[in-house]
Symmetry: C2
Subunit: 438 residues, 2 copies
């Protein structure tokens, strides 16, 4: 989860994204290449600033401006205790989807304070920051999306953000996405970005995205903020359905600890600056090209979030096949991915397949013990309701030492399948979340 | 969970119920009085033995015999990967419930091996041990209930148990319940027992029970074995419904890690030896007296199981009120009780109420942020969608240092209520489940 969302920091002078014991650690699973080289997306500009929302000396506010004519889509946490910014974004998206035209769009994001569970004061804070942004950029207020991530239950110091809006507006530039990725970090140990290029009608199109999140990650959008931009031209209803479907197969298939945040927000803007005829029909072959690249970009960001899971030392892909339906396969996958016993076994590099059997059994999905088979990588561990005849535990134990693991479960009763991703549960997760108090 | 269920032990010579690092620790939350003084229950006899199922030098098999005329009720894990003994017990209970008469009953239990995910070999093992018991005691085979707890996926060495059956049958005695409680332990740090006495029609009646379980504890009966005995006379259908309802409010309202075992079994026998007219009607006032005492006994055992949760240092009662229904209240309670973030906050003695808000939000139950209130003990923490005006964090932090905590959540929208119990999530849980390999 967001350590900043829960009042865990040592003090106001500490930079965020630090480990609780003071050392700035980068996850051992961080992508080796670092932050990708993301080119400008025509029609989108970024600026970031140090507003001192909770800490001094670090970027904590980012503003993105999207030129008029763009389409915007989004998905949000399903939590019943959604933050004030999430409720505001839902209103904006409804207005945008119903065809409100004219003016550009803005996305204003701060870290350090989630403005969640802050009652009427929280709504006032959104009004203040959104109003200032709308005035500075000349866009309608309900075209200003906003997201906040950080401590829950403390009033957002909106005035510190408002004081930076004019400066941010003046400094907007096409190149600022890498700083934006840093400004939205909380306990993240590295900034997360992705870029994909595809050709549509012979025209090169770019999809770029940034994300934050390193815990409280679970289906239904955990403490994650994800912002995607493309110069493709895609009609709003189609963009919304593509984003929703891709989110269900990517961000909603990852889990660090099964906990769900009050603030999760995924927004995508398509500027239409690429020289292509807009795509508006899902049956259009171009829609499939775009949707595939979009899902690929979103999967990359989702994996980066899992790899930065609090205390993670293993990245685990769990593939479930042979279920009665895709939904049941996902249910089995998430039961395995969220089981503390399975996750501690991964941490202990223990090929403890009995715990997989247990998790399948408790998932609530239809399963038949004597049809179940389990694989660690290519190693067949169990089949037909019993340990596999050729299984050698020492080989499986050797496999478990890898940092990237693949667990295959076949239920043997249908065609349903799903893939989910998780990390292990380690001492460091406990240390981050229990041992250090503000 | 059962450490013995997952192949975690250091070696075959090690005694069970030891900590993974060799020290025999008793949970800091163990009941101060130790195992209770349980008098004989007329009509029930016990014997325990060292069969060497997995370890030498410890009690690992117990046999209970219940005289003819008794009624038997039971509830079992709902796991889709139920063990062979659970499937057998379900068959027995169906036969008993449909009125099969004559002969006494037996309950045969071993620790060290759960006989789960063992295919046809597992069924054969049940046939062997049950058959030997039926012959030794002169009871029908389908009156011999059996339960196994321990490692998953290894063949049960049935012959070691069969070799002890005649000795067990010969040594049956009314006083053996304390040894029986020890024989069924796995990673439990102390034996669990309870006793309640009530008067029905002026006749003193006793309810006694034993349980094992220290992890993999969750709703739907996690790795728990529970055996209850009474001399009251209660008709089978009524006994079954009373046991089912009490289990739903006790054992199905506790969780250690949200994981569910393949082997959970609760059996209750009512011998009818007390000089009372049998109770058969739920509307009979005597039924309520008995059911209340039964639920009280089961709650006591359930609490003992939570207090022995792997690595637990805090016992936490979570009371949810004001929900749309009792079921939704329980859903909220279990979401809080199973949240790794909430449980690590308890471990860290951190009054981190933002995480409670998060868990309420993710529970899936209907909640309205601005009606939610949260209490730690008597301390009002949050209300009306915001931190409470008089809240002083230092006071809450002081409260969190207690070993027994009460969290109150009022949703403010209905009359539904539920109470659930859990423990904290500590380094020791990780150590038990990740750090030590066989």
């Amino acid at each position: 989860m967001d350590r900043t969302q829960t009042g865990k920091e040592a003090g106001p002078e500490e930079a965020a994204a630090d480990s609780p014991d003071g050392a700035t650690l980068v996850s051992p699973l961080a992508p080796p290449g670092g932050f990708p080289d993301i080119p400008p997306i025509a029609g989108v500009r970024f600026a970031s600033a140090e507003a001192g929302v909770r800490y001094r000396g670090r970027l904590d506010v980012m503003l993105a401006h999207v030129e008029p004519g763009a389409t915007v889509a989004g998905v949000f946490t399903r939590s019943a205790t959604r933050s004030a910014p999430v409720l505001w974004c839902e209103d904006c998206l409804r207005a945008v989807a119903s065809g409100a035209a004219g003016g550009g769009f803005a996305i204003l994001v701060n870290s350090g304070n989630s403005n969640a569970f802050t009652g009427a004061v929280g709504r006032d804070a959104v009004s203040a920051t959104v109003g200032a942004t709308a005035r500075a950029l000349g866009v309608p207020e309900n075209h200003v999306f906003t997201a906040s991530t950080g401590v829950i239950g403390e009033p957002l110091p909106a005035e510190r953000i408002v004081a930076k809006i004019d400066e941010l507006a003046a400094r907007l530039a096409p190149e600022g996405i890498a700083d934006a990725a840093r400004a939205i970090m909380t306990t993240d140990t590295y900034p997360k970005g992705t870029v994909r290029r595809v050709e549509i009608d012979g025209v090169p199109v770019t999809i770029a995205g940034i994300a934050k999140g390193s815990g409280m990650i679970a289906p239904d959008m955990a403490t994650m903020l994800v912002f995607l931009f493309t110069d493709a031209a895609v009609a709003q209803p189609l963009l919304q359905s593509m984003v929703r479907e891709a989110a269900d197969r990517t961000f909603n298939c990852i889990t660090v600890d099964g906990d769900t945040s009050t603030s999760d927000t995924l927004l995508m803007a398509a500027t239409g600056h690429a020289q292509m005829t807009p795509v508006s029909d899902a049956a259009d072959p171009r829609a499939r090209i775009f949707a595939t690249a979009l899902e690929d970009a979103m999967r990359d960001l989702a994996h980066q979030v899992v790899r930065d899971g609090e205390g993670a030392t293993k990245f685990v892909e769990i593939t479930v096949t042979g279920a009665r339906s895709d939904a049941e396969a996902r249910k089995v996958g998430m039961a395995i991915a969220n089981s503390p016993l399975v996750k501690t076994a991964f941490a202990g590099e223990d090929p403890n397949w009995g715990r997989i059997v247990m998790a399948v059994g408790k998932s609530g999905a239809h399963a038949e013990r004597d049809r179940l088979s389990i694989r660690f990588g290519d190693i067949l561990v169990a089949e037909n309701g019993f340990v596999a005849p050729g299984y050698v535990e020492a080989e499986a134990a050797e496999y478990m030492k890898r940092s990237d693991l693949v667990v295959g479960v076949d239920l043997g009763i249908g065609e349903g399948k799903a893939t989910v991703w998780t990390c292990d549960l380690t001492h460091r997760y406990i240390a981050i979340n229990a041992d250090y108090r503000s």
